[in-house]
């Protein structure tokens, strides 16, 4: 994710090496686009934003980089969910009867409008979620547009994705999404559902509802028929009300494995289909024949991208023993140039931790890691802002397979570094986890790359790269990382029945 260090020469321990952090201040480069945010937001149900009643409860959506409340958002009740599901149900008949081509044209319009409003969406995403503007601008928003564009094209071509079958929409889909990629996850959920002729009730995460509500405005601008997408904001209770709603024909969830299991239970109880994209503890494996410079960049983008709030983050680093010292030395040096701070500054590499609760979780793991006997390294210097939720990127060495920090998903900028001797050992240790979302392999030997790719139990294998996403590329996990895929041709399967 960072370009500026790649040209620098190998670090020497002391003397003439470049020093970063406090001694190398960048001039601030704040994103200057101002974004209008209303004081209060209702739900988006049946093509309209709801107006509050006397009993309506609101909660604040907080900017995690300064702890200021950005606006008030409506806490969804069971009644709200009922209304949204009813609207989706009423809209279903007309929507699925529409020809695929016409459905597709709505999605194309949405994609175009996301592209037009890209900067605004990026700024809002960074304000609401804390991610660096560089990432929301260059990754989240363009990918969200691509997802609508790509799936627009499938709407009239579904029979080619499922030869010898007559794919039909599943019906009303309840979709619950997380706070790490708020707009992008909304796109991942809504675009394929709509392309396949379904209607949707979406619940964005409690801490990051703003871009989903902005997306609702875009649906309105694109004249998407009322009720085809309904957005209900709220906390876990709203999510539960949606997941347990009897009017749904399908559930889709992205989030933690623990909540995912509850969603799976809710779906199983009613015997409705369900797709889950859950947690991970993904291995990133560096062989001694890899290009170490590239691998270092891959480690950085693997774990520090989006503050490590990434389900497929390469949070377990396995380094072949002969290059372990070199990798640690270079990683430590490279991390000195990571800039932690204002998400709206274009120089920022690592933004704010999404919420106070998540920061507490990360800090708890940092404590556990040290208590378990691992050694923590926090190479970056400099001050973090006084207000807001911050965590400096760090890694642990001396980590054992049995350590909690090597087994559990931390969902923060925390890397566990371990070593291995043979490819067989790397495969065995990489697969020794209940998760199976992604894996990274770094080697210049193609045959070794394919051998490992074949043996790693993970839904996405990145070879000499990491954290790459594309609407055309299916994403999803093995084992307790979930089931079903999102994106690509395979991603359509979760939204059709035969």
């Amino acid at each position: 994710m960072n370009e500026h260090a790649s040209s620098q020469t190998e670090p020497k321990a002391d003397a003439r090496s470049l020093r970063f952090g406090e001694s190398w201040d960048y001039a601030p480069a704040p994103e200057s686009v101002k974004v209008e945010i209303a004081e209060k937001y209702g739900h988006y149900i049946n093509g309209k934003f709801t107006t509050p009643t006397k009993t309506t409860k609101f909660f604040g959506s907080i900017n995690p980089s300064n702890e200021k409340v950005l606006c008030k958002v409506t806490q969804g009740t069971k009644k709200d969910v009922d209304k949204a599901v009813d609207a989706a149900k009423s809209a279903l008949t007309g929507w699925k009867r529409l020809s695929g081509k016409e459905r597709g044209k709505y999605l194309y319009r949405i994609a175009r409008r996301i592209q037009e409003r890209a900067r605004e969406l990026a700024v809002l995403e960074s304000m609401d979620g804390g991610k660096p503007i560089r990432e929301s601008r260059d990754v989240d928003v363009p990918l969200a547009a691509q997802h609508f564009f790509y799936h627009a094209g499938w709407a009239d071509k579904l029979k080619y994705a499922f030869p010898n079958r007559d794919p039909q929409p599943v019906g009303v889909c309840g979709q619950i999404i997380p706070w790490n990629f708020p707009l992008l996850m909304a796109a991942w959920k809504i675009a394929p559902a709509l392309a396949c002729g379904n209607t949707v009730v979406l619940k964005p995460a409690e801490t990051t509802p703003l871009t989903a509500l902005r997306l609702a405005e875009i649906f309105d601008e694109c004249e998407l028929p009322a009720g085809v997408v309904n957005i209900v904001t709220g906390d876990g209770a709203t999510g539960q009300a949606l997941a347990e709603h009897k009017g749904l024909d399908k559930l889709a969830f992205t989030g933690s494995t623990s909540v995912g299991k509850k969603i799976a239970a809710a779906a199983a109880e009613r015997d409705i289909p369900c797709t889950l994209e859950l947690g991970g503890k993904s291995p990133n494996i560096i062989f001694d024949d890899a290009s170490i410079d590239q691998a270092i960049e891959g480690i950085i983008s693997g774990i520090y991208f989006n503050q490590g709030h990434v389900c497929c983050a390469g949070s377990r680093l396995f380094v072949q023993e002969s290059v372990l010292d070199e990798v640690i030395r270079r990683l430590e040096w490279r991390m000195k140039s990571l800039r932690v701070g204002d998400p709206l500054d274009k120089n920022t590499d690592v933004g704010a931790i999404n919420s106070k609760a998540q920061l507490a979780t990360i800090n708890r793991y940092l404590k556990i890691g040290s208590e378990e006997g691992a050694e923590v390294h926090v190479p970056g210097g400099g001050e973090v802002p006084a207000k807001g939720y911050w965590c400096r990127p760090c890694f642990f060495t001396g980590v054992q397979q049995s350590h909690q920090i090597a087994r559990e998903e931390i969902f923060g900028p925390v890397l566990a570094v371990m070593s291995f001797r043979t490819p067989e050992e790397a495969i065995q240790r990489a697969n020794n986890t209940p998760y199976g979302l992604s894996a990274g392999i770094w080697t210049d030997k193609g045959s070794k790359m394919f051998e490992l790719a074949g043996k790693l139990k993970a839904g996405v294998i990145w070879c000499n790269t990491f954290n790459r996403f594309d609407a055309a590329s299916p994403f999803g996990g093995y084992k307790e990382s979930g089931f079903g895929r999102e994106g690509g041709m395979q991603g359509l399967r979760g939204y059709v029945k035969f």
Partner: protein, 289 residues
């Protein structure tokens, strides 16, 4: 007061992203349904055709090298621009053919939708046509479709816009570049389509449009050694046969259809129209530690 004299448009060829006149200096009169000459279009020569192939060839690696998503957006952009110029096309079709305005508009709308349909195929056809092959032994083996190169499209006389677009779009979306010989009977839509291409981020040379006579050009199309494939529809038996024989010259991929219902979306927006214009590339790679 003297009446204002309108400024008439000069219709030219579209080659390499520019609008040259035919090097032959010839033109064809366009008449309206009453037989009155309303304008002229270029009467392209063999040399114009050869220039168009050179332009298509030099644009091809760049066009194929673009992300499929980018090609997809450019084809969609063509759809957007065609929609915007829709009324101009409809009026011209109405004036110069037997179609009434309603039919003419229907043709334009179908043409826009066809471009959009193939915009969608650009980043999907390889998922439908390609595959992983479970070979014996420790190998990864997969087959990916790749654009054949330069495709010449010989459009039917009618429908002059929809027929042309239906023949061009499968080649374009998959990364081939196109030289098209538009409808001989109703060439005006071909001439105006160049204006759509020129304002749609289509790189120069990816689409080249000629107006002229098939009798003059068919033989040169068939014999041109730097053309990889030829598609055509609604041609005379003689022209179809000549184009088919061209495959013996340099093993061109030739696909000539007798008659096509261009309003049949199922038939006209299928990946099986892309498949004849791609080469299947199979890649082997060992797998071993």
């Amino acid at each position: 007061m003297a009446q204002r004299l309108s400024v008439a448009k000069t219709y030219k060829l579209y080659i390499g992203g520019a609008f040259p006149r035919t090097e032959s200096g010839r033109s064809i009169a366009i008449t309206d349904t009453s037989g009155k000459t309303i304008t002229h279009v270029c009467h392209a020569s063999r040399k114009d055709f050869r220039n168009a192939v050179v332009a298509a060839r030099s644009a091809q690696p760049g066009w194929m090298g673009r992300d499929a998503y980018n090609r997809s957006q450019i084809l969609y952009r063509m759809g957007e621009m065609l929609e915007g110029k829709g009324e101009e096309f409809a009026q011209l079709i109405k004036r110069t053919t037997d179609a009434d305005l309603r039919t003419a508009r229907k043709e334009v709308e179908a043409s826009v939708d066809r471009l959009v349909a193939y915009a969608g195929w650009a980043d999907k056809f390889s998922q439908v046509l390609g595959c992983h092959n479970p070979v014996v032994g420790p190998y990864y083996n997969f087959t990916v479709p790749e654009a054949t190169g330069v495709v010449v499209a010989v459009a039917p006389d009618e429908p002059s816009l929809l027929g042309l677009i239906t023949l061009m779009a499968p080649a374009l979306c998959s990364g081939s570049t196109v030289v098209a010989l538009g409808s001989e009977k109703h060439p005006i839509a071909t001439s105006v389509l160049g204006e759509v291409c020129a304002t749609s981020d289509v790189p120069g040379g990816a689409i080249n449009l000629l107006t002229g006579q098939r009798d003059e050009l068919i033989e040169h199309i068939a014999n041109h050694r730097d053309v990889n494939a030829v598609v055509g529809a609604g041609l005379s038996k003689k022209h179809a046969a000549a184009l088919r024989m061209g495959s013996s010259e340099n093993i061109k991929r030739v696909r000539i259809e007798d008659s096509v219902d261009f309003y049949d979306d199922e038939a006209c927006e299928s990946p099986w129209r892309i498949e004849p214009l791609v080469e299947m590339k199979t890649i082997w790679h060992p797998s071993a530690t």
